[in-house]
Subunit: 184 residues, 4 copies
């Protein structure tokens, strides 16, 4: 499972073999087929977990008190929360950047992005009721994509200090950007 995720991350879907997954997991290929009907199912399972995890994470970070805390605080919390999720889960790190690549999974990935964007747009509507829907959507898109990009970039960044700096700058950039739209 983790073995598979690492393999997909390292070699991509096409160059990952079931034999390789089994070997890395320390079992036999026959055993892999006792848990998964086929190779795509392995990927789907991992992809599904990552997406689920991300959705859960968002839901818990942007919970019931979302409108009670200052938006800048919420922004910081979300960025830090997703970063922690990434750092804490090898599978998450391993799969994320491959997700958008493979047919049906790409769609699932984009569907999730759309969900996150929509949820974020709803927040903007709550904060600034006068803001038109298309505007909310565009701003939310900017925010979500920016955060996602930073997570991808720091996943590749071996220097911890630079990764931290990029996170700080991401917050700074988004704060300045949103300050022009959001009150307080």
């Amino acid at each position: 499972m983790l073995a598979a995720a690492e393999s997909f991350a390292q070699f991509g879907f096409g160059d990952t073999t079931m034999e390789g997954i089994a070997a890395r997991a320390g079992t036999s290929i026959g055993s892999v087929y006792q848990f998964f009907p086929n190779k795509h199912a392995v990927f789907r399972e991992i992809a599904g977990r990552c997406l689920l995890e991300a959705r859960r994470s968002y839901a818990s970070l942007v919970g019931a008190d979302a409108l009670q805390v200052p938006w800048a605080t919420l922004l910081g919390r979300v960025i830090d929360g997703f970063r922690a999720l990434h750092d804490g889960s090898a599978m998450m790190q391993a799969m994320w950047r491959n997700l958008e690549l493979y047919g049906e999974y790409a769609e699932a990935d984009q569907a999730m992005m759309r969900e996150l964007i929509a949820a974020t747009a709803v927040l903007f509507g709550a904060w600034v009721p006068s803001m038109a829907e298309p505007t909310r959507r565009v701003i939310a898109t900017m925010v979500v994509n920016t955060v996602a990009t930073t997570l991808l970039v720091i996943a590749r960044e071996p220097d911890r200090g630079r990764a931290d700096a990029l996170v700080v700058e991401t917050k700074r950039m988004l704060e300045r950007y949103l300050a022009s739209y959001l009150p307080g």
Copy 2:
């Protein structure tokens, strides 16, 4: 060539077949092998062209007059320029998002990103000599990644109006962000 790029873009490297490339190009597999020695060479050729094009584009957009124009103007010029490059080249659109995925090409892609970041950092050094190198580097990273992300996102966005809006917002976000670092 374009057929190959489209195929790589649509299915990824692993799921693109030489037979498929030939069929899409309206020729036979044998003919494809008269131009390219193997499948990787096809990808390499396309990837190489895209990278070259991007470098050329940057060089022409951020030319000799870079320090004579206001930085906001330059930013707008670069974003619009790269967008035009993307829009004008089906191959560019097709390949870009796959570039980072395949072994040596991933490195070439990241090397180019590092180049663009370094070149941008140099500009910051010219505009604000007092800015420390690590700071310049981080800011440049933010800018380059943000622009790249937006190009990727609008490539997937079928609605022209929304794409325009995203470009506008990207400029707006980066202007606000940079305004806190750059004079004028």
Copy 3:
């Protein structure tokens, strides 16, 4: 394995297909690839065994007592021994005549011939210490090549009686030839 040897013998390396080897062996092509990484490895394995077998055979036939027995006896023993080796091993028969044909194997085959010639020349040195090295070498070359040729010829000869006659004549010819050089 034997199937492969027969196929190589019948059609040559280039016209032997892995599919054909598998079919003749009564298995699938996939199974052949579980034992050998590629077509050359199949040939190399067979060639290697034949060469090993021949070296072993020579060593056991021309053993410690080589100088205790009359040279004519030794000659007869070697010829009969190699003939038995040939007759007993279908693979040996199948491969021998192809051995000298394929790149690296050709070298291995010639290297073995040189070995046999050198070992034989040493015997002449023991029998006739006064014989010059080049002379010993030339005579040994004649003997080894003559025996090898006869083995090849009788491998193609379907008539057992004629094959026997050829072996008898080979011994006779070599005895007469060597009698002019060797004592006793």
Copy 4:
């Protein structure tokens, strides 16, 4: 033509390409197909010439006066004649050792060997009318094969001196052998 022969000799039939033949001959592949309908025809043509040449050579060397000269003289003449034929014709050298390898050509080669053996056996009948046919045949086989082997061996021998020595020894061996059968 010579180009093809060299290529067949160097790489074997399977690894010789029509493209390669054309390139070595300094023309285009299209031109090769103006002279030969297909690859096998190229080989067949060369093989045919070699066989024809060998037959002619034998006929001229063992001509009308065959029974007037001493057999030892005739033997020397044949060996020297064939050696000259070999040395003088690059194609001959190039093709000879490949001849026996390829299906129909192998048969043609063996047919020629049988012819030479039969013709030689006839000579023995003339020299020793009392000799039984099977005996004549076996002796002729020994002689023809021995000469053929020596020609093959010296074709691979880069040292001219050693090649000469091998020819001398071949004559010596055959003379001693035949002396036990033939008068005078």
